[in-house]
Amino acid sequence: MSSPDRSSAKRTTAGAKLAKTSSAKTASVKVAPKARAAPSVANEPSPQEKADFVKAMSKGIQPNTEAARKVDAKKRAAPAQSEPAETVKILRKIPAPGAVVNTAASEEALRVAAMIEKALADGDLNCLQPHAQQALIGALCKLYAANSEVGNRFPVVGGRTAVTATDVMVMCGALLKAVDLQVFELGMWQSWSSN
């Protein structure tokens, strides 16, 4: 073990060396010395060194000095990396809704539907006489049920038309009444048959 006196002497010698190196650096490139961490008073830079340091800092790195050469060498060795380009990743493709296939009968039905909508908009409630409405409703009811039976299920109302909840309740009530069914029976059939 070394005595406290000897270790402090060593520190002083090391501090002196560092101070010497730092002052040499300041003189050559006017860059701040880094080895100034030792807290002892002996390592405190002189007022002249402090002034030189401040001047060097304010002037920045001067061309054709050792510091400038070091900076140039670093720049050449490691060129600034640009940000990596962002890649586009396709997560999902959502197809367009099913294409509509129009048959001749479908086109005729659409024409009649458009005519009814227009008549309704104009307030003409007699555009279709009751027997014509009965024929249409009956045929559509059977067609929809037959499709549903074979598993071809689709929303009963869709596309570019909208019916109100009241319209639906009036129509459903009339359909049930036409075949002498109660709402209770409809509910029971739906729960038993999972429809």
Binding site: I90, P95, A96, R160, T161, A162
Partner: protein
């Protein structure tokens, strides 16, 4: 902001959508009536996948001259898309929430150069 290639216009059918990821951003790219639209895929409500729900025509109430209602109809020209989580509905052309136009999804510019489609993001 850079132009990011997202696909060929010829392979993008009308009515189709693509959900893409650019960096950390998830974007829905729509093709509707020949035009391309791109919006952030994060719903303003609770962060759901806003661009992945139904596309549905705007429902509008038509009025007679005396301001009485003719009923509700689907619009012939305005299309909306609906967040599948809670039904927030956005205008296809602007990304605005249909009942509060001050709220809107972040919109991304879509460029077509020849057959190539780019999103600026």
């Amino acid at each position: 902001m850079a132009e990011q290639f997202v696909g060929k216009a010829s392979e993008f059918k009308d009515g189709e959508r693509q959900i893409i990821q650019i960096g950390k951003r998830e974007i829905g790219v729509f093709r509707h009536e020949g035009e391309f639209y791109a919006y952030s895929n994060i719903c303003l409500h609770q962060g759901g996948p806003a661009c992945e729900g139904l596309t549905i025509a705007n429902v509008e109430e038509r009025l007679r001259d005396d301001k009485t209602s003719m009923g509700l109809f689907f619009s012939e020209k305005d299309m909306n898309f609906v967040c599948p989580w809670h039904g927030y509905e956005y205008d296809m052309k602007t990304g605005e929430h249909i009942s509060d136009r001050s709220q809107k999804l972040r919109k991304y510019e879509v460029l077509t150069k020849g057959d190539d489609v780019y999103v600026v993001a």
